[in-house]
């Protein structure tokens, strides 16, 4: 197992081995009464969902509540792209020199919101499916696509040259309403509004991104298990969230929500934040957690084994207002984990 950690490796090292051997995963989240959640129980918090439905009009507005996410975007997408390239996720059939950076990579963007990350990944050539429990957010994301389609469509048929970045944003990019659980079951939460309900369990994806999502779900552990199930063996899981640290309380809640007001008040609950160590521990011990599932349905499949590949902090650059990758994971951090090949 390779762990490229930008920050201190020493804090992570002992945990890397322990859970695998002892199979005694008792991460602190479970104390919050989530142990009863069956593997396919919706991990979406209804109250949070209402909140995000209410924001949906402003996903793409410059000064809106999602503007902080937009500023994080370039470095989050760069991190994802770098990991995809570094860990050989790109199918070898698509590596002609003129192909786009992420050509042929299947990505599931869980909690895509208005498509802030789905769109850039699609422009880079990935086949992205954006998934969000908020029907309103998906409507916003789809409306953007529809607007672009309108712009280009009335030229269809005539001699028109459309940039590949536009075509990629329209063609392989799909949005669906649903949770990760409903996605795995192969149905859609809003079947009437959703035109294309997925038939059988969907094909496993190369990359699953869950950016700034884990701190909003009720059962992070079940969520991680499902995320791992959605991946193909060798596939990448990219997670970004907020550390449960004093710095995160000051920077992520007090400053962001109350002083600067760049994030709507009440978006985040500090108690739901997850420390990087806990996250690694949970990921590394996912496959030991069969006991969790047994009380719900005795035949639940065991979660795949995961390995943590690298982690980096996201810190704001006060001069430019943009975020950059750093070794400081004490507020926002992003990590890449890989589903271990079954035969390993």
């Amino acid at each position: 197992m390779r762990v490229h950690r930008v920050g201190s490796l020493t804090r992570l090292a002992p945990m890397r081995r322990a859970p695998v051997r002892t199979c005694n995963p008792r991460p602190r989240q479970r104390r919050r009464g989530t142990s009863t959640s069956p593997p396919f129980h919706s991990s979406v918090d209804a109250e949070q969902l209402r909140r995000f439905d209410a924001y949906s009009g402003s996903w793409w507005s410059a000064g809106g509540p999602a503007s902080l996410l937009a500023r994080m975007n370039p470095c989050r997408v760069s991190f994802i792209r770098r990991c995809i390239e570094r860990y050989g996720i790109r199918p070898s059939s698509a590596t002609t020199p003129l192909d786009t950076p992420l050509a042929g990579v299947r990505v599931l963007d869980v909690g895509c919101g208005g498509g802030l990350v789905s769109e850039p990944l699609a422009r880079l050539g990935a086949q992205v499916t954006g998934l969000d429990a908020s029907a309103e957010a998906i409507a916003v994301a789809r409306a953007r696509q529809e607007q672009l389609r309108q712009l280009v469509a009335n030229a269809e048929g005539a001699e028109v040259s459309v940039s590949a970045t536009v075509r990629r944003q329209l063609q392989p990019l799909q949005y669906r309403v649903g949770t990760l659980e409903s996605y795995l079951e192969g149905d859609s939460m809003a079947s009437s509004a959703d035109r294309a309900p997925a038939p059988t369990p969907p094909a496993p994806v190369d990359v699953l991104t869950a950016l700034e999502i884990v701190e909003h779900v009720t059962a992070p552990r079940a969520f991680l298990q499902n995320a791992a199930r959605a991946l193909r063996p060798g596939g990448l899981l990219i997670l970004s969230t907020i550390d449960r640290s004093a710095a995160a309380y000051v920077g992520g809640i007090l400053v962001a929500e109350y002083v600067l007001g760049v994030v709507p008040r009440g978006t985040h609950d500090w108690r739901r934040f997850i420390q990087p160590e806990e996250m690694c521990e949970a990921l590394l011990s996912l496959h030991c957690a069969e006991t969790d599932a047994e009380d719900a349905s005795g035949t639940a499949p065991s979660a795949p084994r995961m390995e943590v590949l690298e982690m980096a902090g996201l810190v704001p650059d006060w001069r430019t207002g943009a975020f950059r990758l750093s070794a400081n994971t004490s507020v926002n951090y992003i990590l890449a984990a890989r589903r271990v090949n079954d035969f390993d």
Binding site: P101, P120, L124, L151, S161, S163
Partner: protein
């Protein structure tokens, strides 16, 4: 909503040096990510002449002849950008069309003191004998950029698409907010032949009288200098590698080396409209040369003299003959003004080069500021493409403006200040005028002999860090 004929990522309006530099700087990156760049040029490119360059080389051995009277002074910073892997234009400029100068000599109404700046003052440079800059012929630089783009447009799928025409109209798609450019050869072009290009980002590089800037409703502050610049090419008695500049109260006169070894010189003379008109339209060749030499060598250039005084020493330039360039005219004049846009972007339209700022040509900074704009924009757009970002995003354009606007405004103000400092004219031979002369002289002495100040000047003039 009108039907579009093209959807591109970046549409560059203007096929001048800066617009072409942006196109060249983005060509490879566009190809790497599958993005499309459209370059809207008012004039069709002349067909590439493969054999011509060889013949130019042969002729250069015998007698050098300039392409036209228009040159640009390129600073080392701008040279580095043109020489970068992405732009890759510099090596395509024939060596006799880019002449380095290592010394700059500047003097005022009196023949002394002469301020002297050396390439050695670029102490931060790691070159052995660093030049202060290069005098490059505009036509050759433009031709080099066209060559560069022609080699990269063989791939239809992505890269740079060329469109010939002018922007007739600019509007915005109501739902996506994308700008739509209506491009036609002229206003009478039938609607079916009008190209309608939708772009994520429109780069306005169409010069000081930018039509895109006007259509995008970006404001513009301008002020005429009531001066005209006269340009011509002359032979000097001896080749030189010094950029000479004399500040007369009517405006600065520059003698810049050309032809690779300085066998020719470019005259750039800013003066009153009347004198400019006389110099270009009415003066005979001999009268023009006489006037240039008098303006260069007279002890006090303000006094009228019939005889041209001899140069103080043999290393001073002395114009002997007017050179006819390949492309007429032999002499030209054009009015000068100052201009600046208070903001550089709006609704996915961004200004670069002269569309954003027009400065006095006295230090040859206009093109260099434009190339610095191009460098900044190319760097940001390339980074955005590589992270899948929408290049029309306001945050990206805001960051570009934050980087470029203060630097451009500082240079604009400095040049304006230098011009005013030397144009400061008071009644003859009054104590006040003498005091003014003394202050000017003192300032020039300080700029020559006080090393930190001299280096600061050189740093500003060469675009150094």
């Amino acid at each position: 909503m009108s039907r579009i004929t093209r959807a591109v990522d970046v549409a560059i309006v203007g096929g001048g040096l800066v617009g072409m530099a942006v196109a060249a700087g983005l060509a490879d990156a566009a190809r790497a990510v599958g993005a499309t760049v459209a370059l809207v040029d008012a004039s069709a490119w002349p067909p590439a002449e493969g054999g011509r360059r060889e013949s130019v080389r042969d002729q250069a051995e015998e007698a050098y002849r300039p392409e036209s009277v228009r040159t640009s002074s390129i600073t080392p910073a701008a040279r580095d950008f043109l020489n970068s892997d992405a732009v890759d234009v510099w090596r395509r400029v024939p060596i006799e069309r880019r002449t380095p100068f290592r010394t700059m000599k500047v003097y005022g109404r009196r023949r002394h003191p002469v301020m002297r700046f050396e390439g050695r003052d670029r102490v931060w440079s790691d070159e052995d004998d660093p030049p202060l800059g290069w005098i490059v012929e505009n036509t050759s630089l433009l031709q080099a950029m066209r060559e560069r783009l022609l080699t990269s447009t063989d791939d239809e799928r992505a890269g740079v698409q060329r469109l010939v025409g002018q922007v007739q109209q600019l509007d915005w798609d109501a739902s996506t907010g994308w700008p739509l450019l209506h491009i036609a050869r002229d206003a009478s072009t039938p609607a079916a032949r009008v190209e309608r290009v939708a772009a994520r980002l429109v780069v306005a590089a169409d010069g000081g009288r930018s039509s895109v800037r006007r259509l995008a409703d970006l404001s513009w502050y301008t002020q005429p200098y009531h001066q005209e610049a006269v340009v011509a090419v002359v032979h000097t008695r001896q080749p030189h590698d010094t950029a000479w500049q004399r500040f007369l109260s009517t405006g600065p006169l520059a003698v810049l080396p050309m032809g690779g070894r300085g066998q020719c010189s470019n005259i750039v003379w800013s003066t009153t409209p009347d004198e400019a008109h006389w110099l270009v339209q009415e003066a005979s060749e001999a009268a023009f040369l006489h006037e240039v030499n008098r303006a260069l060598h007279a002890e006090d250039a303000e006094r009228l003299q019939v005889e041209a005084p001899a140069p103080p020493s043999s290393d001073w330039p002395e114009a002997t003959e007017l050179v006819a360039p390949r492309t007429p005219p032999t002499r030209a004049h054009f009015p000068l003004h100052l201009g600046h846009a208070p903001r550089y972007y709006r609704n996915h339209v961004v200004l670069v080069g002269d569309a954003a700022h027009v400065v006095h040509p006295l230090a040859g900074q206009g093109v260099n500021l434009g190339l610095a704009d191009a460098e900044s924009l190319c760097r940001r757009v390339t980074a955005a493409w590589h992270s899948g970002r929408d290049v029309g995003e306001e945050a990206l354009l805001a960051a570009y403006q934050t980087e470029r606007l203060p630097q451009n405004a500082l240079m604009l103000a400095s040049l304006h200040g230098i011009r005013s400092w030397f144009a400061w004219r008071l009644a003859e031979d009054t104590p006040l005028a003498q005091a003014a002369d003394a202050v000017r002289s003192l300032g020039m002495q300080a700029a020559t002999h006080w090393t930190p100040l001299r280096r600061l000047f050189v740093q500003m003039a060469t675009g150094g860090k």
